[in-house]
């Protein structure tokens, strides 16, 4: 704790400040954990208890009814979800893994090249321009990007005709395929900056040493640089994983076919049905729409929504546990927030 001087901590003023700081930090930790606790406890409650006022802290009779209803949701309410929930899980997994496999090598190689290989006088201005464009908020480029997925390489609703003919330019259409999610995420500006920051810190002499040792440029990258950089690979992979797994708006725009939709879209659909049916209030629960009715009858309410939330959050959490050691090292190196 470098916030406090190492010497003189035993002075009364310092002691008071030290305890205050401790209390504050514990408060912060508890505030962060409360939502998770509520999610878990509510997911284990039966429907009535989940909506009881005042809420109970922990269910009197814990039950897994919410979990089983959600898992079998496509059997019970076919009109709500056409595919079993596992299908959406799979879709999300494919998109996430696809993005990681594409994006991490592409981004890290680009960062390595910018950091260590390209050394001309135009490098710096180009780099700033490049980063500048990538720094635009995604919402600004949403519509052009959407149009691009329909008529690549034209960001237009309809491709123009080849001059002098009535034939339209041939275009590439990835709209409504999982590629529409994977390809645009193939390059990540924030990951690029993380990689570049790390590679900038590697002394040139190591690369030069490997060069005079006879290593080709790619061999140096693969055998020397990558093993040195595992923590930053862990951090970027984690960010990419979280980013794609939790993405909602972009898949909503480019994915129409329910069979290839990711989990986020499915969850949104269910929760919309709930709120549309008014199940969030006991008074109107009886008048639920036909799609959701069988579920509500079998005892679904807030408990189900909490299950969905947990299902969505769990993979990212598991990834964090596995890569914990490298991630923390990476965070230390990067000085990330």
């Amino acid at each position: 704790m470098s916030l406090f001087p190492l010497v003189g901590r035993k002075q009364p003023r310092m002691r008071v400040a030290w305890s205050l700081m401790n209390i504050l930090l514990w408060l912060g930790i508890i505030l962060h954990l409360i939502p998770f606790f509520i999610m878990i406890s509510t997911s284990l409650k039966p429907a009535a208890e989940a909506m009881a006022m005042p809420p109970t802290l922990w269910p009197k009779n814990p039950t897994l009814v919410g979990w089983s209803l959600i898992w079998n949701i496509s059997d019970i309410a076919k009109s709500l979800l056409s595919q079993p929930l596992s299908r959406y899980f799979l879709n999300s997994t494919l998109m996430t893994l696809g993005t990681i496999i594409l994006s991490i090598p592409v981004t890290s190689l680009a960062a390595y090249a910018t950091s260590k290989l390209i050394k001309g006088r135009a490098t710096k201005p180009l780099f700033i321009f490049f980063i500048g464009t990538l720094m635009l908020p995604g919402i600004v480029t949403l519509i052009p990007s959407f149009l691009l997925t329909r008529n690549f390489p034209f960001p237009l609703p309809v491709p123009p005709n080849i001059p002098g003919t009535d034939i339209a330019f041939p275009t590439l259409r990835i709209w409504n395929t999982i590629w529409a999610v994977i390809l645009p995420a193939g390059f990540s500006a924030s990951n690029f900056l993380l990689f570049k920051g790390f590679f900038d810190g590697i002394p040139d002499s190591i690369i030069n040493a490997a060069r005079v040792d006879g290593g080709s440029e790619f061999n140096i990258f693969r055998r020397i640089i990558v093993p040195m950089s595992l923590p930053v690979y862990a951090v970027t992979t984690y960010f990419t994983f979280g980013g794609v797994w939790d993405s909602y708006l972009w898949p909503l725009v480019v994915i129409q076919d329910s069979a290839i939709a990711p989990l986020t879209l499915a969850i949104r659909r269910i929760s919309d049905a709930f709120s549309g049916a008014g199940t969030t209030s006991t008074m109107t629960a009886l008048g639920a729409s036909s799609a959701i009715a069988p579920l509500v009858e079998q005892g679904l309410s807030w408990n189900g929504l909490m299950v969905l939330g947990l299902l969505q959050a769990l993979p990212v959490f598991i990834f964090f546990i596995f890569a914990r050691e490298y991630l923390l090292k990476g965070v230390r190196i990067q000085g990330l927030k």
Partner: protein, 376 residues
């Protein structure tokens, strides 16, 4: 091993587009050097003088804008660093951090697709060469090694591949003083034992003198002077070389030749010049350079320059002491006997004219230097 010839090599750096500075910065200006087979050449100069750039150009890590690099008679100017077969030792060791000591050495065999037997054979030879305890370093993770140990691995990594030329970029400047002394002896012995052609870059003139058979002094991208220690020490081409070589540095006093005498400006004092010098020196302003051992020190006022003694530094190993004092605002150093009394507060210094250097006041090039003294 081969000889290395650098012919009129220039290298310029362009500032990034859009920055206020638009003129190119000179890394190297028309540099020519010839390193004979088995010779060690030290390159010394202040930071930013281009000495590291020269090393990189010879290794092929930086291209030369013009000029040629030859290994023996082979022009390697356009050959990639991977194919030049040089060994390089770096100031920050540049070990591959995620690997163990031995893996650092074996990377070369890996990329050259050598067999395991060849590798083991060669590693064993090198471990023997590197001396006691070296095999222990091989099994350890790089970040657990001390600075000296890292540099031993770094040097071994070069030796293992039997390079054409050894290039060393301040290899010991990150080490402790005592370790530095031992390591430089070790390096020198290895170089001599195997007749290695080597280029040794350093900012420390003492190290350059120790390591180099010949020494190249660089400044602002140019080789100012290239020669043996004696040439640099007794016949420096300009004030820069004169003050760079030798510790403590040469004392420089602005002076003016007035007829038969030399007027020291900072104290407005005239010293009679011996007749043989009067003929050789142009009248007018110049710089008088006197090495610490080139003073005649008197405690009684016998016509010398009065100097306020600020301190006496006793060097037991040299059986001598350096006297530090001030002439006006200028610091001067003079060599005195080890038992020079500490209570003396003023001395009078006269240059030993046979050892005095004279430089032009404006261009700072040498007008007259003593040359190697005749001992007998």
């Amino acid at each position: 091993m081969s000889s290395v010839t650098v012919e009129n090599v220039s290298r310029q750096y362009y500032p990034p587009l859009g920055s206020s500075e638009t003129r190119p910065v000179s890394g190297l200006v028309n540099v020519s050097l010839k390193i004979a087979n088995g010779e060690t050449v030290s390159v010394v100069g202040p930071s930013g003088c281009g000495k590291s750039t020269l090393l990189k150009v010879i290794a092929g890590l930086e291209p030369a804008d013009s000029g040629r690099i030859l290994y023996d008679k082979v022009d390697v100017t356009n050959i990639s660093p991977q194919a030049r077969g040089v060994g390089m030792v770096f100031q920050d060791y540049a070990l591959y951090p995620s690997k163990e000591g031995e893996d650092n050495l074996s990377y070369y065999f890996e990329v050259r697709k050598k067999t395991e037997e060849e590798k083991q054979q060669r590693l064993k030879e090198v471990a023997e060469l590197m001396g006691i305890g070296f095999d222990l370093l091989m099994g350890r993770q790089v970040d657990t090694l001390s600075g000296g140990e890292k540099q031993r691995v770094g040097i071994a990594r070069c030796i293992v591949r039997d390079p054409n030329v050894f290039l060393m970029d301040e290899p010991i400047s990150n080490l402790d003083a005592k370790l530095r002394e031992r390591t430089r002896t070790e390096i020198k012995r290895l170089l001599k034992k195997f007749g290695i052609t080597a280029l040794y870059v350093t900012h420390d003139q003492q190290e350059a003198i120790f390591m180099g058979d010949r020494i190249a002094v660089m400044r602002a991208g140019q080789v100012v002077q290239f020669g043996t220690f004696d040439e640099l020490y007794y016949s420096p081409v300009d004030l820069f070389v004169a003050t760079l070589i030798g510790t403590p540095p040469m004392n420089v006093l602005p002076a003016e030749v007035q007829g038969q005498s030399l007027c020291i400006e900072s104290v407005e004092m005239s010293l009679p010049l011996p007749p043989e010098l009067v003929d050789k020196l142009p009248a007018g302003k110049l710089r008088l350079g006197v090495r610490p051992e080139g003073w005649l020190v008197n405690q009684a006022p016998t016509g010398g320059i009065p100097v306020v003694v600020t301190r006496v530094e006793r060097l037991f190993t040299e059986r001598a002491a350096f006297l530090g004092g001030q002439i006006g605002r200028l610091f001067v150093n003079a060599l005195v006997a080890l038992d020079f009394p500490a209570e003396v507060k003023q001395v009078f210094l006269t240059p030993d004219w046979t050892q005095a250097h004279f430089f032009a006041a404006d261009s700072e090039t040498a007008i007259l230097t003593p040359g190697v003294p005749d001992l007998f």
